[in-house]
Symmetry: C2
Subunit: 334 residues, 2 copies
DNA sequence: ACAGTGCATCGAATCGGTTCGAAGGAGACG
DNA sequence: CGTCTCCTTCGAACCGATTCGATGCACTGT
């Protein structure tokens, strides 16, 4: 493979001249620049990434850490990964995607060997074991999901409290006094997925403030348990006139279950949820819902990260930014 | 950050000694080895990836090229990505994931800058524009999906012809003489997704051999068009007693559509499909189907690639390997 | 004619590893 | 006792880029 030395020889200049012609960091006469570019084309020269990384201490790669839980409803994760990859590329970065189970160790390996210039953490838990490792790393980090301590990192997440309030309010306005709430599966609470309790607690608080009865259930996540559970819940609470679903697996299964029982929406039951537009389209969900905006969250995380990588010193205070929930009315309530 | 020089100084040896102690390529007395390891721990030393790549011409990174089509039913892709990532890690490699729209250019960028030791291409089309680029690259490549020319690369794919035959045969044995076939969306044919016509043509051939009527439709891919089309097809072909679905979006929507029309499976209609076990579970699909084995395909692709990367010269002939389709009977036919 | 300025280019050092050849010392052997 | 091996270890070269300081040269102003 052609090196910068080959190009230099071919163009009859020194290696440093080629480097400057490429980077534009010093002025080069137009004749030599042309000669150099010719040589580059003829030889098909591309700078070696490793050598460049060594010389500049920059890899132009972002490490993306994705946690896949076997028990989880997976299609949701991809919605974050794609926008992140796109945003990174727009800023000139490639994505090193890490899915290892032992994420803290993998994170240490990646950061301390200087394979990446920055880190994006997805699906961050309240007491996420990756965060202490990230804090000790040389590279800046950005994350989606709210951890307990947010100093030294940028955090992006949906405002789940406000989301819950919006949905409860939406049902209250329509006179509902008895509501079923389906939360994420128990496991999400246990491993510290803060969005789970942030949403649930805010919903319960709001309901009790208005004297609304709310029946909260941690949803199942794998079929056929999901369908069975939904049926049990509906048997349990015939008095409920509305349902709030904060659970991907449950809401994806809901149309079939309701249909089987002959329950019409919104005539017999009002249903609202919280999921992304894309997810809704994928599963043809006809429910009014708060938009989770994975696209915006992913892109924002990358943009914040890029800012810090470009300017490691300044770049302002670390911040937690909550994306404002927007409700999309699909007419599933009355 | 600590370098190998810092470790050497601390341990009172030369840099090369540290390197040999780490790699084990020359024998080192146990006392010095211990001293070196102590120094490494105390300083928290990790070799710099860029420097190592430069010296060894190995990055220990695999480039994974994933094509995401906006019009595609996305959850399927993730099923390939995860096993690939896992298999790579088991072999000591990390994954650089590229999702760029202009894949050939991105591929050239990645390979010619030596960012990776090898390439995995997903969702390969018949006349895939990435393949000529890959063939010129220094790095070996491995792919999932069957291209028109397979020399110089390793190819893994499901045996779609045999899959079609198995399913047609399954229905023929049960006496079906009039079958609806739903293929991938038109767009897949147009961009050269060979699996689409390989399956369809084999199914049609088999049907005509037995004098079975087969009505073939290219499926829609986005809701609500999917449901509408399924209804139209069922209206069109009341005489059909069975259905073969080779389309993720259609089969995911099918339970609801059939239910709405009061069509019972298998009493009123026999249904078979082709999808992975995981996909079926995700959408609670109660249909007998050929397993697409994304897990096996992804892992095999990585393993073949690793073999070539480890031993660039030998490693035997390039090969096309078709995974044998297995049918999972879920009782949706009679 | 001469110092001063700016442009274009070069050479050498550097980044942090790996690897080859050589060298020093201990032990085996004739 | 001299020579040969083996075991350890060292020093230097190298991988392929970037970047700093220096140099040569043309041009300006005095």
């Amino acid at each position: 493979m052609a090196t910068i030395g080959d190009v230099a020889r071919r163009a009859g200049v020194s290696r440093s001249t080629v480097s400057y012609a490429l980077s534009g960091k010093r002025s080069i006469s137009s004749e030599t620049r042309d000669r150099i570019h010719e040589a580059i084309v003829e030889l098909g020269f591309t700078p070696n990434a490793g050598a460049r990384a060594l010389a500049t201490s920059q890899t132009m790669v972002i490490g993306l850490f994705v946690h896949f839980f076997a028990d989880e409803f997976s299609p949701a994760m991809l919605q974050y990964v794609l926008p992140i990859s796109d945003a990174a590329r727009e800023a000139g970065y490639d994505i090193l995607m890490v899915t290892e189970t032992d994420a803290p160790q993998a994170l240490r390996r990646i950061t301390s060997s200087d394979m990446v210039d920055g880190i994006v953490l997805l699906n961050v838990a309240h007491n996420d074991a990756r965060i202490p490792v990230l804090r000790e790393a040389r590279q800046p980090g950005s994350m989606v999901g709210l951890p307990s301590h947010t100093d030294g990192v940028d955090v992006f997440d949906l405002d789940f409290e406000e989301s819950a309030r919006i949905l409860v309010e939406h049902l209250r306005e329509r006179g509902h006094r008895s509501i079923i709430l389906i939360t994420p599966q128990q496991h999400v609470f246990e491993r510290g997925g803060a969005y789970a309790w942030r949403f649930r607690d805010a919903a319960l608080e709001r309901a009790s403030r208005y004297g609304i009865q709310m029946f909260s259930y941690a949803g199942e996540t794998q079929q056929p348990a999901v369908n069975r559970q939904l049926n049990e819940i509906l048997d349990d609470r015939p008095e409920a006139t509305a349902m709030i679903v904060h659970n991907d697996a449950a809401i994806a299964a809901l149309p079939t279950v309701l249909h089987d029982r002959g329950i019409g929406v919104p005539d017999d039951l009002s249903v609202v949820g919280i999921f992304s537009e894309e997810f809704g389209r994928l599963f043809s969900l006809p429910y009014t819902a708060v938009e989770t905006s994975p696209d915006e969250l992913g892109r924002s995380a990358v943009q914040a990260l890029v800012r810090r990588m470009v300017d490691p010193a300044a770049a302002g205070e670390y911040a937690v930014r909550f994306v404002e929930p927007r409700i999309t009315d699909r007419g599933s309530t009355r």
